[in-house]
């Protein structure tokens, strides 16, 4: 019977392969649930575990398999641990994720393994002694050394870094095996994993980090880290040689993040050598980087309020420093340059398209957590335990007061529109940028752009089919313009229903953010297109209970009143929930803090009353843009 069943499975797989609108690169049981008009899948493509040095030196013990179990709904132990090795805190998602990728920092895989393994040469080196006795100091010394523009290996790595590269195989194998073990290859297709890692270049302390995501189980023998490829171009080249053109079936892409900490370097119009970018560079970047992470634990990178943008809603989860260095050396803090932000890059990309014929910054948008606790998708403001990493460590004791630096936040989620929950389907969604990010909630957002959607499309039972048939979804390019036509954007949003014990929040409004080039100058404008900014919704700050009206769903077909057919443009949707309490407010309330009564402000809770951080936020979603080219 078994051969017969196997044969049927293979036959079915082949049949589905022929029908699928995406290339199938792996042999697996076809998904029972397949929707040609696609479904939203919620996940997290930015997760660190104990294989990252900056997590391990904070006492994190969870490994990739624990991160995937957590993402699927199991509880996870968080530090500190007691003498018996029992975690003193646990965390559990209210709803499991659909997909996840563990993306540990690849730079110190080998060094970290050697320092932690008594039987490996190099274990007794001064560096490893510091690693074991003063982990916080090691965190700084080892990270800062490995992320520079010309990193050098430690002596104990031996000639050609052979010892460290050999040791790096252990965590890399574990990461691959954990991804394979957690990937649901059954017809249920409940959970998808991707093999991945983080490339951690940060010249001068300015963040250029990228997550590398592989399409399937065929991956390079070792990841190309900042040691092997110390510029983004070198990383893309290493991936081209070692993966894309290796003839092995390997496929990969990179997702930049935390441009807000890049000191303006993430979206430069010059390459790493300082030469103006060329059409070839732009083409390579656009091909390798279809998405950018717009928001995560270490802040929002959408846009800069004030100098960078007149958009007041840009003042959301902003960091008060422009680089890692400035976080630790306050005297070096300056206002982040506008070029550190994604919206500015999208605008610059239009101008570059005019100059080069290619847009280097043609990004779709997602969000992530960047958790360093292996807590994939843990974005709940009500119970934020901190995410470690650049935040508050908890290796040796429960944090006193706030569990995270006040300027940080629980991070967000990535959402991919795909036919089924499989690696190939999700990877194809990333490639075509049919993706959006949320700051944590699970609202469902669709955006289509075309030239002739009817005004009542929202009421049509076949609106999704028509959305695809008569236009393009988020991430796409508007088709050639018919004479005298203007862009029609069909946008819909469903509130996050939440769970029984933690219901979601009503929607306030939907906005369209437009960027364009006018006489060589980049411009932007934000339009409210559905909902009501003054709906009267509010929050009781003492209890965090929301009050006032809002929408369970919003949908509209918007036409651009300022459209000029001669000007290239992009449009993306931003969906806003009614105000809710920020994580810090939930926590400070739970500790009994009342800022008008100083005696209630305990140790470590002083920043509960910092006026620089609002007690409420408006959770949101950002869709990938659609582009118009004359």
């Amino acid at each position: 019977v078994r051969p017969l069943v196997s044969g049927l499975v293979v036959a079915l797989a082949v049949t589905t392969a022929a029908a699928a609108p995406f290339e199938r690169t792996e042999t697996r049981t076809p998904c029972a649930a397949y929707e040609a008009t696609r479904r939203p899948f919620f996940g997290d493509l930015h997760v660190h575990t104990a294989h990252s040095l900056d997590a391990a030196t904070q006492g994190i013990r969870a490994l990739p398999r624990d991160a995937y179990l957590f993402a699927r709904g199991a509880p996870i132990g968080l530090p500190p641990y007691d003498d018996a090795g029992t975690p003193r805190r646990t965390l559990r998602l209210r709803r499991p994720l659909d997909f996840a990728a563990v993306t540990d920092h690849a730079e110190l895989f080998g060094e970290h393994t050697i320092c932690a393994s008594r039987d490996l040469p190099g274990h007794a080196s001064p560096v490893c002694s510091i690693y074991r006795r003063w982990p916080r100091l090691a965190f700084f010394l080892m990270n800062s050394r490995s992320t520079t523009s010309s990193p050098t290996r430690y002596g104990f790595c031996g000639p050609d870094a052979r010892a460290c590269l050999q040791a790096a195989r252990t965590p890399w194998t574990d990461i691959r095996e954990a991804a394979e073990g957690a990937y649901d290859r059954s017809a249920d297709c409940r959970f998808t994993t991707f093999v991945g890692y983080e490339w951690t270049g940060a010249p001068g302390g300015n963040n250029l980090h990228r997550n590398v995501i592989f399409r399937n189980a065929t991956v390079p023998e070792l990841p190309a880290s900042n040691y092997e490829a110390s510029t983004p171009e070198a990383l893309w080249e290493a991936l081209r040689v070692g993966c894309l053109e290796a003839g092995s079936g390997c496929d990969a892409l990179t997702i930049p993040h935390n441009s807000n900490l890049s000191g303006g370097l993430m979206f430069l119009l010059v390459d790493s050598a300082g030469a103006p970018i060329t059409a070839d560079f732009a083409r390579r970047r656009a091909a390798m980087e279809p998405l950018v992470e717009v928001m995560q634990h270490k802040g929002d990178s959408e846009c800069l309020p004030g100098a960078g943008s007149p958009d007041e809603l840009c003042a959301f989860e902003k960091l008060p420093y422009q680089s890692f260095t400035a976080k630790f050396v306050p005297s070096r803090r300056t206002t982040p340059p506008p070029a550190s932000f994604v919206r500015e890059a999208l605008k610059l990309g239009l101008a570059e398209q005019q100059r080069l014929g290619v847009n280097p910054f043609k990004f779709g948008l997602i969000a992530g957590t960047d958790t360093h606790l292996a807590a994939a998708g843990a974005t709940d403001e009500r119970s934020h335990p901190g995410h470690g990493g650049a935040g508050v460590p908890s290796a040796t004791g429960l944090p006193v007061g706030l569990p995270d630096d006040i300027e940080l936040n629980p991070g967000g989620l990535a959402v991919l529109w795909a036919e089924e929950n499989s690696r190939d389907a999700l990877f194809a969604a990333i490639r075509r940028r049919e993706a959006y990010g949320t700051s944590g909630p699970r609202m469902v957002v669709r955006l289509f752009a075309g030239w002739s959607y009817p005004a009542d499309l929202c009421d049509a039972p076949d609106r999704v089919e028509r959305g695809y048939a008569e236009g393009v979804p988020m991430g796409g390019d508007l088709p050639p313009r018919p004479a005298n036509a203007i862009p029609h954007l069909a946008v819909s949003a469903l509130r996050d229903p939440g769970t029984e014990d933690a219901p979601g929040t009503l929607l306030q409004r939907v906005q369209i953010v437009k960027g364009w080039v006018e006489d060589g100058v980049v411009r932007e404008r934000v339009y409210d297109v559905a909902g009501d900014a003054r709906n009267g919704a509010a929050v009781d700050l003492a209890t965090c209970a929301p009050t006032g009206p809002g929408a369970t769903s919003l949908c509209t077909v918007w036409t651009d009143p300022d459209f000029d057919a001669a000007r290239p443009a992009f449009y993306y949707a931003r969906v806003l929930e009614n105000p809710t309490c920020r994580w810090s407010t939930w926590l400070c309330n739970s500790k009994g803090v009342r800022c008008e009564a100083p005696e209630t402000v305990g140790e470590g809770l002083e920043r509960c009353c910092d006026p620089g951080y609002p007690p409420t936020i408006q959770e949101r979603a950002w869709t990938s843009p659609v582009w118009y080219a004359p």
């Binding site: 080196s125 001064p126 560096v127 002694s129 510091i130 074991r132 006795r133 003063w134 982990p135 916080r136 100091l137 700084f140 010394l141 800062s144 050394r145 520079t148 050098t152 430690y154 002596g155 630790f328 460590p393 290796a395 040796t396 004791g397």
Partner: protein
């Protein structure tokens, strides 16, 4: 007990038992002896591995170590002057005992340590 011997004993006790603030990425309040150990270890890394950031941190530790050694030497001298010469031995013993007792409380704040941010003398060097 001679003034010189008393000063040396007190200096050593201060080095190991008095919380002394220093900066190196984060602020610690630990015994100066710990700062010396950090300086030694970071110095070993700088000498064997080099590195820009390690050199800066090692340099900061070194400057602060020299400062701590000097300040505590002056403090020990001041204490010896204040103590009654006739009962110097007893007074030094009492002072040292008080410092040791202090150091066995969780008076040190050490973000770098495995022992935890709040620690006592045993926790630091265990």
């Amino acid at each position: 007990m001679s003034a010189k011997a008393a000063r040396r004993i007190l200096w050593l006790a201060l080095l190991f038992c008095l919380p002394f603030p220093y900066w190196g990425i984060e602020v610690e309040r630990g015994p100066a002896a710990r700062l010396l150990l950090l300086t030694f270890m970071t110095g070993a890394v700088v000498l064997t591995e080099g590195g820009h950031d390690a050199s800066i941190v090692g340099g900061l530790f070194l400057v602060q170590s020299l400062l701590a050694l000097g300040l505590l030497w002056l403090l020990a001298g001041l204490l010896v002057r204040i103590l009654p010469a006739a009962r110097r031995g007893t007074a030094v013993a009492v002072l040292v005992a008080a410092l040791v007792a202090l150091a066995f409380q969780n008076v040190f704040h050490l973000p770098f340590a495995r022992s935890g941010p709040q620690a006592n003398l045993l926790g630091i060097f265990q």
